[in-house]
């Protein structure tokens, strides 16, 4: 948690946001059936689906005001001004922000892009094969290069997903998008290996990278086996690798 007086500055922002949410909740609530009969239930005010939303909206507005007043009384305005001033001086692509991007970009692209269009196993390797080495190596320069490259790769997949081109490509060759993902994984691997060669702590990094790779390739294997074949959960997209597993599974069984 942040320091107390700084916190009051942020409280001003959050309480205003909560206030707006409260108002929105109320506006929506008053458009719900309040008096007319709906679905065979004779509506009075106390039956309306709007009853609790109104209570929630009003309470949220009241509490938001209390938090706002408390913040203003305790030096929130001053703190807010200071944080704005500090914000103006900071760089967008600072090491800290690159770190944040390195957490979020793979997570967001896994959930919103890859799970649906890339084979489950490959999607997970694409996630872990980036996230684990990027943080385990703890080198700001390697991380920065990897993030730029990964961002570019994800952009391609995003375009495939949005334009529905992935569906068209998969029709051409059943595992087209999976192959693209595999090539992306390999390119990322090459990038890491080259960067590690260039770096000063070559030996340490090489050893760490090996561990990271074992982790990124083997754990998804276990996850697929446990979830797909033991818990029998159909995976979001079963492509090249999962189908290969299934074939082996049905042969062995």
């Amino acid at each position: 948690m942040i320091h107390d007086s700084k916190l009051r500055g942020k409280d001003i922002v959050t309480s205003i946001l909560f206030f707006i949410l409260g108002v929105y909740i109320l506006i929506e609530a008053f458009q719900m059936p309040l008096k007319d009969t709906y679905a065979g239930v004779v509506s009075k005010w106390y039956v309306s689906p709007a009853l609790l939303p109104i209570i929630i909206g009003v309470s949220m507005i009241l509490i938001a005001v209390v938090i706002l007043l408390h913040a203003v009384k305790n030096g929130g305005v001053q703190a807010l001004k200071e944080s704005f001033a500090a914000l103006r001086g900071s760089k967008v692509l600072s090491d800290g922000n690159i770190r944040y991007a390195a957490v979020l970009i793979p997570l967001l692209s896994l959930v919103y892009i890859n799970l649906r269009i890339v084979d489950f196993y490959l999607a997970i390797v694409l996630y872990l094969g980036f996230t684990i080495p990027v943080f385990y190596l703890e080198s700001d320069s390697i991380r920065r290069k990897a993030v730029y490259f990964y961002f570019f790769e994800m952009l391609i997949l995003l375009v495939l997903r949005i334009t529905k081109l992935s569906v068209v490509l998969d029709r051409v060759f059943y595992y087209f998008v999976d192959s693209i993902a595999l090539i992306m994984i390999i390119l990322l691997l090459v990038l890491f290996i080259r960067e590690i060669k260039k770096s000063e702590q070559r030996e340490l990094y090489r050893q760490k990278f090996r561990q990271a790779m074992v982790m990124s390739w083997v754990t998804p294997l276990f996850i697929v086996i446990i979830f797909r074949y033991m818990l029998r959960v159909p995976l979001p997209k079963e492509g090249a690798v999962v189908n290969l597993f299934s074939m082996i599974y049905y042969l062995v069984r």
Partner: protein, 507 residues
């Protein structure tokens, strides 16, 4: 039935399981599976029981019940692993445990915390079992006092108490998070008139926002961001010699344990609410009655004991209405009811006439399951602590993947993951600004119940608010809520200060 025959049934069923190596293996296997299920974020006790119902369909009834009770007990206990080790509760029932367990792990006392949860879970399960055997009729009469009004107040109380006890900053922040959770629970078709609220025309939202994506999003994602981005590191645990709590500790915390178990049994017996609420109410009560409430949130042993005893004793409580009325007391118990029906057992008032001694058999299995859980837990805890030696950068991304696939596996909906991520990112910022997460999650869990029961109660009373204060249980709840509210306001503090000052002056 005569007491002597009851004893003989109880102990003979214990004996018959103990001498049967196959059933013993089944018991330990399913408990272990349950612990793994509980510990993995997203996979819940309900899902575990559902899964084993299908898998044990071809087994004889007693073996199937051993497996099902085993996984139930194991999963409720297993949730605490995630809470203590990585601050991501494996199940909603273990959310309260994270309040104290993770700070303890940060102090290098992860081993001690796991030892405490294991022992208090076992004690809790056993106490719940005893209530199931002895007090079933009495508890049923109490549980039937709960009509729509009481359900609404109970839901409201749950949100309120989690808001006021888990707050690192001013208490209003806890409450506003509770209301935010309530709002999220309003999304979707309402339960009574099926009117769509706040759905933005998105079809997937019409069914409402499920608990698991909010739970995992709100606890899991901020933790993953914090560890990776802000390099928050759990220190290597101190060398653990003994996981077992000492007899001195057990005696010292005895009143707390019993009180929490009573809360667990009581809440378990009320239909429809389960382990999660039991843990919070017990935790809150432990804080209110503690000599050092200010230490709560910094890794107190009392807090862990309270929540873990309560969530496990809830199992016995939930079995009470299940076996005596055919009404499940908690969500996993609902699945258990299904499993019993599949095996041709119809739980209800006629159960003891049609199958004499069935309740005692279940109690015997429950007792054995709690022992098995304790043994598995003690063996497992030492190994699990070793995980803390693995660098976080290696395993945190794997935790992220497990969070996602776990939440997906429950209901097979990728849409839940679409929700999970924004919930996680928003709560990451909110946590950093001193807003507590637990009330948000409790709000989502209880919101639907609060809404439907408030309106239904008013429908029954034709809009009159009088039943709130004329019904005895309802009146008690109203008073408790008012008390919680007042003790948390400025005015109350000022009045107390003034009274104290004037008392001093008079002296």
């Amino acid at each position: 039935m005569h007491i002597a025959t009851q004893f003989s049934i109880f102990f003979s069923s214990i004996g018959s399981i103990l001498i049967n190596p196959y059933q013993l293996l089944l018991l330990f296997g399913s408990v272990l599976l349950g612990v793994v299920f509980g510990a993995l974020p997203g996979l819940t006790a309900t899902l575990g029981v559902a899964l084993l119902t299908t898998l044990t369909y071809s087994l004889p009834m007693q073996s199937a019940m051993i497996a099902l009770m085993g996984i139930y007990v194991g999963a409720v206990y297993g949730g605490s692993y995630g809470s203590i080790m990585i601050n991501i509760p494996g199940t909603a029932a273990a959310a309260a445990t994270a309040m104290e367990g993770y700070p303890m792990a940060l102090q290098g006392k992860a081993g001690k915390a796991l030892g405490l949860t294991t022992t208090s879970s076992a004690i809790g399960t056993t106490i719940g079992m005893m209530f199931l055997v002895v007090f079933t009729p009495l508890i049923m009469r109490l549980a039937l006092q709960f009509t729509s009004f009481e359900f609404f107040l109970l839901a409201f109380f749950g949100i309120m108490i989690s808001g006021s006890i888990s707050c690192p900053d001013t208490v209003q922040k806890g409450w506003i998070m509770g209301f935010l959770g309530l709002f999220l629970a309003m999304v979707g078709r309402d339960q009574l008139q099926v009117y769509p609220r706040y759905t933005f025309g998105i079809m997937s939202l019409e069914g409402g926002i499920e608990v698991v994506p909010v739970l995992i999003g709100a606890f899991g994602i901020p933790q993953i961001i914090q560890v990776l981005k802000d390099r928050q590191i759990v220190p290597e645990p101190m060398k653990v010699n003994k996981l077992l709590p000492s007899w001195g500790d057990i005696i010292k915390y005895f009143p707390n344990t019993v009180r929490s178990a009573l809360i667990g049994v009581g809440i378990g017996a009320v239909p429809g609410i389960g382990e999660d609420i039991a843990a919070w109410v017990a935790y809150g009560t432990a804080k209110k009655t503690s000599k050092h409430p200010e230490l709560f949130g910094t890794g107190t042993e009392e807090g862990i004991i309270a929540s873990e005893t309560a969530n496990n004793s809830c199992i016995g409580g939930a079995m009470i209405p299940l076996l005596s009325m055919g009404i499940p007391g908690s969500p996993p118990a609902a699945m258990l009811l299904g499993a019993l029906l599949l095996h041709g057992v119809a739980p209800g008032p006629m159960l003891e006439i049609e199958r004499p001694g069935f309740t005692l058999q279940i109690s015997a299995i429950l007792l054995l399951a709690s022992f098995a859980m304790w043994i598995v837990g003690m063996l497992l805890a030492k190994q699990v602590i070793k995980l803390l030696h693995v660098p976080p950068a290696l395993f945190m991304p794997v935790v992220a993947v497990l969070c996602l696939i776990g939440s997906y596996a429950l209901g097979l909906k990728v849409f839940n993951l679409y929700l999970l991520i924004p919930v996680g990112i928003v709560t990451y910022y909110l946590t950093n600004m001193g807003y507590p997460i637990p009330p948000l999650v409790i709000g989502v869990i209880l919101g639907g119940m609060a809404d439907a029961n408030l309106r239904r109660g008013l429908m029954v009373s034709q809009g009159s608010l009088l039943p709130f204060i004329t019904r005895p249980v309802s009146l008690i709840l109203v008073l408790v809520i008012l008390f919680t509210f007042l003790t948390n306001t400025e005015i109350y503090r000022r009045v107390v200060m003034k009274v104290r000052a004037s008392l001093k002056r008079q002296k």
